[in-house]
Amino acid sequence: MSAVTAAAVAARDRGTWRAGVRKYAAIVRINMQNSLTYTWDAVGQGVAVVLFMFVFARLWKTTFAAQNATVIGGLTLAQTVWYFVWAELVQLSKLDVAQTIQDEVKDGSLAYTLGRPYHYLLYHFAFGLGNVFMRMIFILAFGAAVAWIEVGPPRFVRVEALPAVLLITLLAFVLDYCIMAALGLLAFFVEDTSAFCLIYQKINFVLGGLLLPVDFLPGAIQTVARVLPFNLVLYAPSKLFVAWNGTQFVQMLGLQLVWIGITGAGLVALFRYGARRVSINGG
């Protein structure tokens, strides 16, 4: 498309949802290009996942052997180890926006972005999403390599179900973003939100299924964990990756949409309340 035609299309679509999509897609694309410049950062995260995967693989191999079990909580050893590959993939590559938003609230730079022709929250989502893909490639490559060496290839993965797994993974990123951005916006009320982020991270570790698949939790705790949104960030995509189940997919998708609606509404309300409190001084 020539520059003139593109400009004509942009002028025709101005203010429509198509123009909005193009705008945020451009932000995603630009940050994907930026992330190519920092390939070594992504490699570094890939190296980090080797550490975690190695420890998890050893822990669960020893546990399965000690229990003399082939299946625990409905998962075999190989499924359990590959479950952690996907869980680490989501955990290490998801949009980590809380710190950025907190800093922008604290130093006032948020005020300068309010007048720009994009929505602050959508901009940060698109910006973060652009950085995700490169990280995902390396984390998946390194994590899969460790799992392959420790327990062999993932023969149980249903290739035809992967698009659905990717959809659940994308929605997991959206849900996590709503929660993390809301935590960052708490900087309107408290000086430092890092403690809240740490607590959220650790809740994800336990009730979200990063350290222990939700199926392994005791009955009552498992029931609570399945109702809360945390398992929809890590457990849902990871479980579907290693043990595809159409009924479970529909349930998880429905729950994800409900929780995205709830947390998204809370996030927007928090942002509007905070934006009203922003005062801009010259300087």
Binding site: A48, V55, A66, Q67
Partner: protein, 264 residues
């Protein structure tokens, strides 16, 4: 001997100053410390759930895990309370911020390390003590060994952290690598050593001395073995010596930054 005493007193002054500095932002200090305490507590829930279901793994039951976490948390907390700058060393070197310490008539390394207190470390300290209570070991010798092991673990933690920070002397800004290496030490120290065999086990007793901050101290407190305690003390001494040698070597390559820094 008088010189050593003077340096210890100086380090004490630095720690008091850091504490006073943190107290200026009391609400933030308390929030971070309480946040870290809750953070550690939630993480520990994983092991409670794990042992609720699986009871034992390679000789470790929940009692040993309480002791392991108590020693690691207290050691980590002590290290980051008294020598918090070890965690920032890679960044300080890369930013050329050693100039301030180089111009003063005090040994650079201890002055540098003891000049910052990590506020959240108070949460780790508290966790360590609380977890020890759950071990049920209240005899004087066990408590003494627990405290001595935690102090030695703190020395190893911070020497290793600072040593990884020294990478900045050689490869530029090594903040990420420093952080990754110390996370490696911390991660491995929080798991029963029986999970790891062969070369990995050898590494955990040498290059990444996780065994000396976790599993070996647990055995010392359980068996009251003074031989093993001597082993931990030896590992701590070696880690300090290696740190001093590498820091001196790196300092020769240090290039001052042009930035003006104000230390208040």
């Amino acid at each position: 001997m008088q010189r050593v005493y003077a340096e210890v007193r100086f380090a004490g002054h630095l720690v008091r100053l850091s504490l006073a500095s943190n107290m200026e932002y009391r609400a933030s200090f308390i929030t971070q410390a309480v946040g870290m305490f809750i953070n550690n507590g939630i993480y520990f829930v994983f092991w409670l759930l794990f042992f609720d279901r699986f009871k034992e793994i390679r000789g470790y039951q929940i009692e040993q895990i309480f002791l392991l976490f108590a020693i690691v948390a207290l050691g980590y907390g002590l290290g980051h309370t008294f020598a918090g700058n070890a965690a920032r060393l890679a960044w300080l070197i890369a930013q050329g911020r050693l100039d301030y310490y180089l111009t003063l008539p005090r040994p650079v390394l201890p002055h540098l390390l003891f000049s910052y207190m990590e506020p959240s470390a108070a949460g780790d300290l508290t966790c360590g003590l609380v977890w020890y209570v759950f071990t049920g070991r209240f005899d004087a010798l066990s408590i003494l060994l627990f405290l001595v092991c935690s102090v030695l673990a703190a020395v190893i933690f911070m020497s290793f952290r600072a040593l990884s920070g020294c990478l900045s002397f050689f490869i530029g800004n090594a903040s990420r690598w420093s952080s990754f290496l110390s996370n490696t030490l911390l991660t491995f120290s929080l798991y029963p050593m029986g999970l790891f065999q062969g070369v990995i086990r050898l590494i955990l007793f040498t290059l990444v001395p996780a065994a000396f901050v976790g599993a070996v101290p647990v055995e010392v407190v359980e068996t009251h073995s003074l031989t093993l305690l001597g082993g931990i003390a030896g590992a701590a001494a070696v880690s300090v010596v290696v740190l001093v040698l590498v820091f001196r070597l790196g300092l020769r390559r240090y290039e001052s930054g042009s930035a003006l820094n104000v230390n208040i």
